[in-house]
């Protein structure tokens, strides 16, 4: 099965060279069709298709090992015994590895014109052409296994894709850095870099020729580094961490009363406990040694302990900045910054893959500095927020006090939330549409809610404004949106 289908595919893949030939005009979709014209005709004028790193299937297989073990769960282990369990795991993992080898063999990528083309699939062959004008963010991710083997995964975020488009797993670190530079250059529209195969190391970017770029400080002007102790303390100040002692006491009491200490029971309990603690632990692991840097008009974010990530977000792609003050952090005066980029669906529950961390934890001064960097001229501590009218308390007796909205020179700012206070900042140039919604109770009280929709995230909503003010706000937002877009 694999051989027969794969054979013609190989023919079109020329030598896996590191420096592709100059990219001429796009050769069209026939570049990957093993047609009767023969591979020689297409290979001559298209840049050669590049393979992923040969170690990738091994890593994929190892990754599937964990999935298999998790999927089989403890109860299977107790039912079939350890020997059979090991055999089962080995067989499944081996099968996954074989599949990974086959898929690696059939996967390739190359840049044609202003597109990145990714070819994949064995039976259902698929070629994805990713228009680089639409590139929102590039991420270099290095899971633990990839770090041990010196590999990296490249992820692209494109507008319109519900999920991360085209994860190229895995490339060598140098390849990944080079490809990222090249993609960003093409996306920014510098045509001279397209034709030269590999990007020449420019003085402003010393990272290209580095051997292990992600191990070092991110290039550019460093903005801020989060201290790891702060990160740990901040994650201890979460509801999960506070509830942990209660849970442990309950479990211990139960075991003491029942007197059964079987391995399965303990293991299951520990697994359940890990599930509860997963979020804070994950945050600690993900945001370990969080560093933020600015490189011309891009933001570089570097974080992670077991899995290091290096995200590059062009500043002009930032749709929303959200500032959060969790209840338990208030005694420390800490806040968290998040940014929204187009291309991530708002309903995505798995927030691991979203390049949304701008600051995992920090005080007001740091937050103000970073916000000023991302949205120049915006002072976090001096925003012109006005509360809704007094009668909004009939609708929200407690949280009406926390509400606020204001028109800054460049951004629309909205504050909400009684316990977990949130402040959303939407630049006028990023507004997609404005809505005014008025429910029946709001109509009684002559109130209305103004929504601002953005391409990523959930936008911002100014709740319960006075009706006349809401109309004025909507008109002003629309006008400012037009002005801001025209200015660009």
């Amino acid at each position: 099965m694999p051989g027969g289908v794969a054979a013609p595919q190989v023919a079109t893949v020329p030598d896996r060279s590191e420096s592709p030939a100059p990219a001429g005009p796009a050769t069209g979709p026939d570049a990957d069709q093993p047609g009767p014209t023969g591979p020689g005709a297409t290979a001559a004028d298209a840049p050669p298709r590049q393979r992923l790193h040969p170690l990738s299937p091994v890593l994929q297989g190892a990754k599937s090992l964990f999935v298999v073990i998790a999927g089989l769960s403890w109860s299977t282990l107790s039912r079939v015994g350890f020997g059979w369990f090991a055999v089962l795991v080995a067989v499944l993992a081996l099968g996954a590895t074989v599949l990974a080898v086959v898929s690696w063999y059939n996967t390739g990528y190359h840049i044609v014109g202003r597109e990145l083309r990714v070819h994949e699939g064995l039976l259902w062959r698929r070629t994805r052409a990713i228009p680089l004008e639409r590139l929102q963010a590039v991420e270099v991710v290095r899971p633990l296994l990839a770090q041990l083997t010196g590999l990296a995964e490249l992820r692209l975020e494109v507008v319109g894709g519900g999920k991360t488009e085209a994860p190229l797993a895995y490339l060598s670190v140098a390849d990944a850095a080079r490809l990222r530079q090249r993609l960003l250059a093409v996306a920014a529209g510098t045509p001279d870099q397209e034709t030269t195969g590999a990007v020449p190391p420019t003085p402003g970017d010393p990272e290209v020729d580095a051997t292990t770029p992600t191990e070092r400080e991110p290039a550019g002007r460093p903005l801020h580094a989060v201290s790891n102790t702060d990160l740990l303390v901040s994650q201890l100040l979460t509801p999960q961490a506070f509830l942990l002692p209660v849970g442990v006491a309950f479990v211990v009491a139960q075991f003491l009363s029942e007197g059964s200490w079987s391995f399965i029971a303990v293991a299951s309990t520990l697994t359940a406990m890990a599930g509860v603690l997963l979020q804070p632990v994950r945050r600690v692991l993900d945001d370990w040694s969080f560093r933020l840097a600015r490189e011309s008009d891009r933001l570089r974010i570097h974080n992670g302990l077991l899995e290091t990530r290096m995200q590059t977000v062009p500043l002009e792609r930032v749709q929303t900045v959200v500032v959060t003050w969790p209840l338990l952090w208030r005694m420390k005066g800490w806040l968290r910054l998040r940014l929204e980029v187009a291309g991530y669906s708002g309903g995505e529950t798995d927030d691991r893959n979203r390049p949304d961390r701008l600051l995992p934890v920090g005080d007001l001064a740091v937050g103000t500095m970073i916000v000023d960097e991302v949205l120049p001229g915006v002072r976090l501590d001096a925003l012109p927020l006005t509360p809704p009218p007094q009668r909004a308390r009939w609708l929200r007796p407690l949280s009406a006090r926390a509400l606020g909205a204001g028109l800054h020179e460049r951004v629309f700012a909205v504050r909400s939330g009684l316990l977990t206070r949130q402040l959303a900042l939407v630049p006028y140039a990023r507004i997609q549409s404005v809505r005014v919604v008025q429910g029946p109770a709001q109509r009684r009280l002559r109130l209305a809610t103004v929504h601002v929709d953005t391409a990523g995230g959930s936008g911002a909503a100014a709740y319960d404004r006075d009706l006349a003010q809401a109309w004025a706000l909507a008109a002003e937002l629309t006008a400012r949106g037009h002005a801001a877009r025209r200015a660009r």
Partner: protein
């Protein structure tokens, strides 16, 4: 279309910026489409209940029929009023769509933010010679749907939106 500058003090709840915006109503034929749709739904429910009543003879089925009929009548009234409340307006730079009675919604969508325009017409709508135009932006929450347009008006609106969108198209 008339002036783009919004006035400083809008007054009425139903008519924001009454001087500058000329609201266009949608076709009242949409009432019939919606009523037919409602009638079909009600008929299915009623038949189910009637069969139950005939077989079981329990009085609850009769009560159910009455409730369904009452709800249907009330819904018919809201449909009539709701269609009259629906309106749209084309300004120089943006499209305004308002609808809803219980929850009133007004959407302001700049033409330059338009990603694509949908024109659709279901079988019932086609029977009454109507079509629906929907404007999509990059934001999923954008709610700019104009139902109950004559096909000529729908294609005019679509062409105008497309032309304006191309004129002023910007990235994200």
């Amino acid at each position: 279309m008339n002036a783009a500058e919004p006035p400083q003090s809008p007054v009425s709840a139903l008519e924001p910026w009454p001087d500058t915006v000329r609201w266009q109503p949608i076709s009242t034929d949409l009432i019939w489409v919606e009523l037919l749709r409602l009638a079909l739904g009600l008929a299915v429910l009623l038949v189910g209940l009637a069969v139950g009543w005939a077989l079981q003879g329990h009085w609850l089925f009769g009560a159910g029929c009455a409730v369904v009929l009452l709800g249907g009548g009330w819904r018919a009234v809201t449909i009539v009023r709701g269609v009259h409340a629906w309106g749209y307006a084309e300004r120089d730079d943006d499209l305004l769509v308002r609808h809803g009675l219980l929850v009133r919604r007004l959407s302001i969508v700049p033409y330059s933010r338009m990603q694509f325009v949908d024109v659709s017409a279901g079988p019932l709508e086609r029977a009454f010679d109507l079509a629906t135009v929907q404007l999509h932006t990059a934001a999923a929450a954008t709610d700019a749907r104009v139902p109950g347009l004559r096909p000529a008006e729908a294609s005019r609106l679509r062409d105008r939106l497309t032309a304006l969108g191309e004129d002023r198209a910007e990235g994200l």
